[in-house]
């Protein structure tokens, strides 16, 4: 059983106006449009509750204006929530005072920004060591640590360059290094790769996934790109108009989208690419226990399943960690599942 890193309970953020009035209206069930009309206050985050598990990449998705950028800023309190609790490692950080907050940000969390937000007057190394410098770590230690992390992302040769001498992708790698250098247990990433071109974006996703395999951290990632969310997300939360619409694993969300808003995200995405072995099991075949033959784990990806299946006459077994056979995959079960997804995505067009 994993433990929860962050637990968010009934979180609200109201911009402008008298927040106590707005909160009363919200709690009596008023809609945010109605509130805006009556008071002029904008409800950015509206009664949001969720938890993020230790070591997972939690992706928060939504269109612009859905409140996702506000929500991520509530978590490190760049913005103060209007109501609700944010419990980080068992402590309610909405109650923290200024001094505790500075301490928390230095010790436990860091952030990566959409516009990179590097310091133009600092070299790459000084940018990398920024967080440590702020925390009062001496020059020698922080530079050694900065170099170490720069090496992990292949930027060591550029340590003494300035940000403007690097390409966008490289600048964001510096942004990532700056966040990693303080060795945070929680990393917040706000549209971190959205400003990059598609090729660089997937390169950065690879770097992030590689780093995540080596050093498990909890990552709270905001994105508006579903492909990105499906690729890197352990779990995905979908936000609309300040509310959470759905939280689940990529497979859960693909298989059972909560509503049309969620379904709309998949319009241009070929969801069959994200199918895993456990989704492809033939429903009419009962699993045979203990039979020899080829087998794959439940999380095996579609391309790998296809490769295993090619040229086989026997069905493929799906086995869990304990060697328990969960079911069989046959060419026809794979075909029917893929065509089902393809038809779904063309039907919504």
């Amino acid at each position: 059983m994993q433990s929860a890193k962050i637990v968010v309970k009934n979180l609200y953020k109201v911009f402008g106006g008298k927040s106590s009035d707005v909160m009363r209206m919200l709690k009596s069930g008023a809609h945010k449009d109605e509130i805006f009309k009556q008071t002029g206050s904008v409800v950015g985050v509206n009664d949001v509750s969720f938890s993020v598990q230790e070591g997972e990449i939690f992706v928060l998705m939504g269109l612009s204006g859905s409140g996702k950028s506000t929500l991520i800023r509530l978590i490190n309190r760049l913005m103060d929530p209007t109501d609700g609790q944010i419990i980080l490692d068992g402590q309610d950080i909405t109650k923290f005072n200024y001094k505790q907050l500075v301490e928390l940000r230095r010790r436990d969390m860091s952030m990566v920004f959409q516009s990179f937000a590097l310091m133009p007057h600092r070299s790459v190394l000084d940018n990398a060591a920024f967080g440590l410098e702020i925390a009062g770590v001496d020059r020698k230690t922080r530079e050694a640590r900065g170099m170490e992390v720069l090496e992990q992302v292949g930027l060591a040769p550029f340590a003494h360059k300035y940000p403007h001498e690097l390409s966008g992708g490289m600048q964001q790698r510096v942004g990532l290094v700056r966040a990693l250098a303080v060795n945070p247990s929680l990393m917040l990433m706000d549209e971190a790769f959205s400003a990059l071109d598609p090729l660089k974006r997937s390169e950065m996703q690879d770097i992030l996934l590689k780093l995540q395999r080596e050093q498990r951290r909890t990552i709270f990632f905001v994105s508006h790109d579903l492909e990105e969310a499906l690729r890197i997300g352990t779990r995905i939360a979908i936000m609309e108009g300040g509310r959470l619409v759905q939280v689940g694993t990529p497979q859960e969300i693909i298989e059972n989208p909560a509503d049309d808003y969620v379904r709309n995200f998949f319009k241009s995405v070929d969801t069959s690419r994200y199918l895993q072995a456990k989704d492809l099991i033939e429903v009419n075949h009962a699993p045979h226990a203990g039979r020899p033959g080829l087998h794959v784990p439940p999380s095996c990806s579609l391309p790998d399943v296809l490769q295993q299946l090619l040229g086989q006459t026997e069905p493929l077994q799906v086995r869990d960690d304990q060697g328990q056979c969960l079911g069989l995959i046959t060419p026809s079960s794979v075909l029917s599942k893929i065509s089902q997804h393809r038809l779904q995505s063309t039907a919504t067009h």
Binding site: R73, V102, R105, S115, A117, M119, H121, L188
Partner: protein
């Protein structure tokens, strides 16, 4: 009709006179202290600058010019200073330079902190803005009168009137520079646990530096122009020659002394301007 409009229906002038006299009567000690401090500082600066032989001074300027802007500008500096020396205005030019630098130092000492305060506090910014507008648009001569009343004739009222005139760009451009720092850069500062002071000194001021340097440049140029006018209260330097040329209708003297002012202005302007464009700050201007 015409009589009414010329009558003092609203005697603002009288009120100002009364305020000034009240301040003179009741705060003489404070004015003396300020005056003495500034006089001591300005005398020091002038003594130091005049202590440097013309050749050495020229070499220093040429070197700085070469470092910041290349050999062509260094050559210009040599020619310009040579011309000033040859026309016999070296001493006055250095005196003017000393006055300008003293006034600039005082202006920046006041202006930069006020600019920071304005950027961080909306109310202060709102209150200071009209004051700055007033200071900049009030005809510069007007400052000479109260300055002379408070501090007598000489360098001190000249410098203080100059400070009043030269402080606005320092305040404005410091404040502008800080407010222009990208929102996410400020957030990055906060997100990594900056305290208020760390945010100011490690994020906001360094990123605002090009703008602040533009303010320094403007302040120096304003100070130089005002220092000439301040010769009316006996501030000295090239202004004395300009003033004498007006009184004697001596076009030749006016041109020579005016030329020295122009050359000094160009040298100071180009050198200070170059500090706003270091390779690292150029990136900030490009918005990366």
């Amino acid at each position: 009709m015409a009589d009414i409009s010329t009558q003092d229906m609203l005697p603002i002038g009288d009120w100002v006179n009364k305020i000034i006299h009240f301040m003179l009567d009741h705060n003489a000690g404070a004015f003396d202290a300020i005056g003495n401090t500034i006089d001591w500082f300005a005398t020091m600066v002038e003594f130091l600058l005049l202590g440097i032989p013309p050749l050495v001074m020229g070499a220093i300027f040429a070197c700085v010019g070469f470092w910041r802007l290349g050999w062509k500008f260094a050559l210009f500096v040599c020619a310009a200073l040579g011309l000033i020396w040859a026309t016999g205005f070296w001493g006055q030019t250095i005196a003017t330079l000393a006055l300008t630098l003293s006034a600039t130092c005082v202006s920046l000492l006041l202006g930069v902190p006020v600019g920071i305060w304005c950027a961080r506090n909306k109310l202060v910014g709102m209150l200071v803005r009209p004051v700055l507008d007033f200071m900049q648009t009030m005809p510069a001569f007007v400052y000479l009168i109260p300055a002379a009343m408070f501090f007598g004739l000489g360098r001190v009222p000249g410098i203080l009137a100059t400070v009043v005139f030269a402080v606005p760009p320092a305040v404005r451009l410091t404040s502008l520079g800080i407010r222009m720092v990208n929102k996410e850069q400020v957030e990055a500062g906060h997100a990594f646990g900056c305290t208020s002071w760390q945010l100011l000194f490690k994020v906001q001021l360094p990123i605002a530096l090009p703008s602040i340097m533009a303010g320094v440049n403007q302040t120096i140029m304003m100070a130089l122009s005002m220092v000439i006018i301040a010769s009316m209260v006996g501030a000295g330097g090239l202004g004395n020659d300009v003033l004498a040329s007006i009184q004697r209708l001596d076009v030749g003297l006016g041109f020579e002394s005016g030329l020295a002012v122009v050359l000094l202005a160009i040298i100071l302007d180009r050198i200070t301007e170059s500090f706003g464009h270091t390779p690292t700050t150029r990136a900030a201007e490009q918005g990366s």
